[in-house]
Subunit: 178 residues, 2 copies
């Protein structure tokens, strides 16, 4: 799997093939096919073997903690060396539903659970609106980051993260100040 | 280009090839390569030739208008027959930066401009917070939809759209009611 990562970083995921990984690793391609049914499956296991795990700090200030956690996430997954691999993996998930399901089960969902646990505590402490819909938390908090990462493909800066959170916390509706 | 769409719908984008399109259309593959440098470029032009354009209603109620426009968008782009084509196109944009740039220039940006114009009017009318950051509007409004479409890959229902907008309008911060 390390060979897969190295080769993907050298030549790009689009040009990667099981044949090329086998040649670089010095094994027959059937050795690889015995364990992985497709390039996508091999790549998924290879990227997940890097064991990226993003923990949530708890300083008692939910906005500061979300910022810190998200800075770490975008620095790690939103730029080289890992960024292009994660982007290729999400791209592969658009053509291979097994890769999509495994990516969700093994990475997205466990991360979301940590995030929701931290947000629930903040909501219980009165730092989030009692109406805030925790089931939507991941969509709302990370959707704007994925939009920038996958659609506009502009850099994910800390300043962008700050602006997104400020807007999400404030809400779009006008406030009637006392 | 119609042949490309038909074939992509029959066999899926992953299996689509310029050779297969040429054979189905009864032309030589060089005829296609003269105009399109890659399968991705051909597919982009083919999907965009469907001329999907999403206009913004203006009934004077921004939340109702956003809902209507977004129902139309998710019904069209978030489910068959067009949904899988749009999903494949976004997937291709993760491996081909020319496709990503063209998708932004020819579809995402023109749609965003319409959306921002409608939101600016609503902000000027006091229906949105005067602090609402219009430059972030597309990320914040459509990011949660793309997250569901590309990452969790669960159905984009009208109910989901309603919940997202309700959460975005209200904001995450607790309100101090008078």
């Amino acid at each position: 799997m390390r060979t897969t990562i190295e080769l993907a970083q050298e030549i790009g995921y689009a040009k990667l093939s099981i044949e090329a990984v086998a040649a670089r690793a010095g094994v027959g391609k059937h050795t690889i096919y015995r364990r992985w049914s497709s390039k996508g499956a091999l790549f998924l296991d290879s990227v997940l073997s890097l064991n990226v795990s993003l923990d949530y700090p708890d300083t008692g200030d939910i906005l500061a903690d979300l910022r810190e956690q998200t800075y770490t996430a975008v620095d790690l997954l939103g730029r080289p060396p890992l960024g292009p691999l994660f982007q290729a993996l999400v791209g592969e998930a658009q053509r291979n539903s097994k890769v999509a399901a495994a990516l969700n089960e093994r990475f997205i969902t466990p991360q979301a659970e940590k995030s929701v646990a931290r947000l629930k505590k903040a909501r219980d402490e009165g730092q989030l609106s009692p109406e805030f819909d925790l089931d939507l938390a991941m969509s709302i908090l990370s959707g704007p980051l994925y939009f920038q990462f996958l659609i506009t493909q502009e850099p994910l800066t800390h300043e962008y993260v700050d602006r997104v959170f400020e807007a999400l916390f404030a809400g779009m509706r006008p406030r009637h100040h006392e």
